[in-house]
């Protein structure tokens, strides 16, 4: 059973107890009250540790120029919340241009990864041809290569292609991830052969079988690939740092590092910049987390 399925079951289990609201565990046994209280206490403590820093950053970004952000004991709520710092970030660095650059890179990465790894994964899982084993091995080897170690050679390759200092250069090395190809391969392997067999008898060729039958059946894995591709591109730091030198082309992460270096003395600005960078991702993840937890759970259980 996947994580998400269990989540959906929880309210039903609670509703099933007619007389008193009873909280049950995953096996349907009731949970003692003190144990439940301890659990929530621990959950809230971990929540404070994991989400607290983001909330503190948000609070800092909303504090006005006259408010003391270094006070001891610390003040958690801004006395006079203002969006002034967000305007000032945009005056200091072209933060919206950087965000747009990141968006372009991340969107392209999603499209290329979904299309490229679905195609290659389908070939590896469903097509028989000489060289299939070699192709699989190539992707496995590529997955094992540590990117951090080849980054200089990637850079010189990019120079030879004349693509360094371009957004295309930022996208290309990761535009079809070997790991995504193998994820898609596993997803296609888990589909029953009979459906495709029937389509073949009906005269569907390989592209029609791929597009109409196989692809719609692996939407969950495709969603995981898309989320990972977006997050990976939006969050990447080392590669854009190496490949981009022109401030006009900076992505948000590189721009933020630049902001930090130049205006380290005003934490309100840096805080506003980081919130701009993290807010879209948290929103995206909040919307898609259902697919995400289900997809990851399935992959791990079956893989």
């Amino acid at each position: 059973m996947s994580v998400a399925e269990k989540v959906r079951e929880a309210p039903a289990a609670v509703a099933a107890a007619p007389r008193r609201k009873r909280v049950t565990d995953e096996h349907g046994r009731s949970v003692r009250v003190w144990e439940l209280a301890l659990r929530y206490l621990l959950l809230i403590a971990v929540l404070a540790l994991t989400v607290g820093p983001f909330v503190w950053q948000l609070s800092t970004s909303l504090k006005g120029p006259t408010e003391d952000i270094f006070s001891s004991p610390p003040k958690f709520l801004p006395s006079d919340p203002t969006l002034h710092n967000y305007e000032r970030v945009a005056d200091t660095i072209p933060v919206w241009d950087y965000a747009f650059n990141s968006l372009k890179v991340a969107t392209t990465n999603v499209v290329t990864n979904c299309v490229g790894s679905a195609l290659a994964g389908y070939a590896l899982a469903r097509l028989r041809y000489g060289g299939r084993k070699v192709t699989t091995l190539v992707f496995i080897l590529a997955m094992l290569v540590p990117v951090e170690g080849i980054i200089i050679a990637q850079f010189t390759t990019m120079r030879e292609l004349g693509l360094n200092n371009t957004l295309i250069g930022v996208v290309l090395p990761g535009c079809i991830g070997a790991m995504n190809v193998l994820l898609m391969r596993n997803a296609f392997l888990n589909l029953p052969y009979e459906i495709e067999e029937a389509a073949y008898v009906d005269g569907a060729n390989v592209w029609q079988r791929f597009l109409r039958i196989a692809l719609p059946s692996v939407k969950g894995t495709l969603a995981v690939v898309a989320i990972f591709a977006f997050m990976g591109a939006w969050d990447d730091f080392l590669w854009p740092l190496i490949v981009l030198s022109d401030p006009d082309k900076f992505t948000l992460t590189i721009g933020l590092n630049y902001l930090h270096g130049t205006f380290a003395n005003d934490e309100r600005l840096v805080a506003a910049g980081t919130i701009i960078a993290v807010a879209p991702l948290i929103a995206l993840f909040a919307c898609l987390q259902r697919y995400f937890f289900r997809g990851v759970g399935e992959g791990a259980v079956k893989g």
Binding site: Y40, P53, F54, L141, E148, L256, N257, V278
Partner: protein, 312 residues
């Protein structure tokens, strides 16, 4: 790209329909390659070719703008006498030793905490994943601000009377802080892996242990840990390889030069520093990269071996 593949597809469509064989596995010899081509091209040009050229460059004195010549083992001999290399190797190794035990154990405890389906648990699971979603740059900047001499952590420490601590100015505290941030960011990721593994632990085992009178801690040691042991090995392997290659956390918290006197430089930071820019020593940086490969492969083998020994 798009137009060429669509013509190819209509071509195969016409011919594929005319052939009458009733076997799903047979098709035109070219179409599997068309499916795999984009992936093979990207991986070949941007992963495998750079990997091979890194291995080759390590034996040359190539620079960014100068092709360079074969110099044999000169780069590796130079490494032995390079103080920065030893500092980098030390820090990357310390990073593995500091981060891996925490990342094997803490996410497991966290997974146990969020495993039970109590009201609101889905919210907690997602919330604990937030640090994984956030960019490492955002995470780095947030923690630089939190651990600043005047930041939140120090305000709290002063309020409770401990006094302020220079987390980011002392060489060792800085490295420890970076490790703590790595652990903090990784918790949610490994928690998900453990959650999937815990879902497969048969409940009968827990019940049997309960009947035998084992308490929660006892059950954790005798039932949970053995049941998720292979997942623990996997997490150990993944986190140790990632920890050895650490770059962003230290780069962001210690600065591009690696903290006071460069004492917090890690190996990948050294690769980035020596190999880039117009005067970058590509050959020498490649030699350091080769050391990174060798150590990460060795780490994987070590973890896998330890796994097999315990099985026997």
């Amino acid at each position: 790209m798009a137009s060429s593949s669509s013509t190819a597809s209509s071509g195969t469509a016409a011919r594929g329909a005319s052939s009458g064989a009733v076997r799903v596995r047979r098709q035109l010899p070219t179409s599997p390659w068309l499916f795999a081509a984009p992936g093979l091209l990207v991986v070949g040009i941007f992963i495998l070719y750079p990997f091979v050229s890194t291995l080759v460059n390590a034996f040359t004195d190539r620079r960014t703008l100068i092709p360079g010549e074969f110099v044999g083992l000169a780069n590796f001999r130079e490494l032995l006498h390079d103080e920065m290399f030893w500092i980098g190797l030390r820090n990357s190794t310390l990073y593995v030793l500091g981060v891996v035990p925490a990342l094997v154990l803490l996410p497991l405890l966290l997974a146990l905490l969020v495993q039970k389906n109590i009201p609101g648990i889905a919210f907690f699971r997602s919330a604990f994943y937030t640090p994984v979603v956030a960019s490492i740059v955002v995470v780095g900047l947030i923690w630089v601000w939190l651990l600043d001499e005047r930041g939140l952590v120090n305000s709290l420490l002063e309020t409770i009377g401990v006094g302020r601590i220079g987390f980011l100015s002392d060489q060792w505290l800085l490295l420890l802080s970076a490790m703590a941030v790595t652990v903090w960011k990784g918790l949610g990721y490994y928690m998900i892996i453990y959650l999937a593994a815990l879902a497969n632990v048969p409940r009968e085992l827990h019940e049997a242990a309960s009947v035998d009178g084992a308490g929660a801690f006892r059950r954790f040691l005798t039932v949970t840990v053995p049941a998720v042991r292979s997942t623990m090995v996997l997490v150990g392997a993944l986190s140790s390889v990632a920890a050895f290659k650490v770059f962003s956390e230290v780069y962001l918290m210690a600065g591009p030069d690696g903290g006071p006197a460069g004492e917090d430089t890690t190996l990948v930071m050294l690769v980035q520093r020596t190999g880039t820019g117009l005067t970058g020593r590509v050959g020498y940086a490649s030699a350091i990269s080769v050391v990174v490969f060798v150590v990460t492969v060795a780490l994987m083998l070590l973890v896998l071996r330890a796994d097999r020994k315990e099985d026997a």
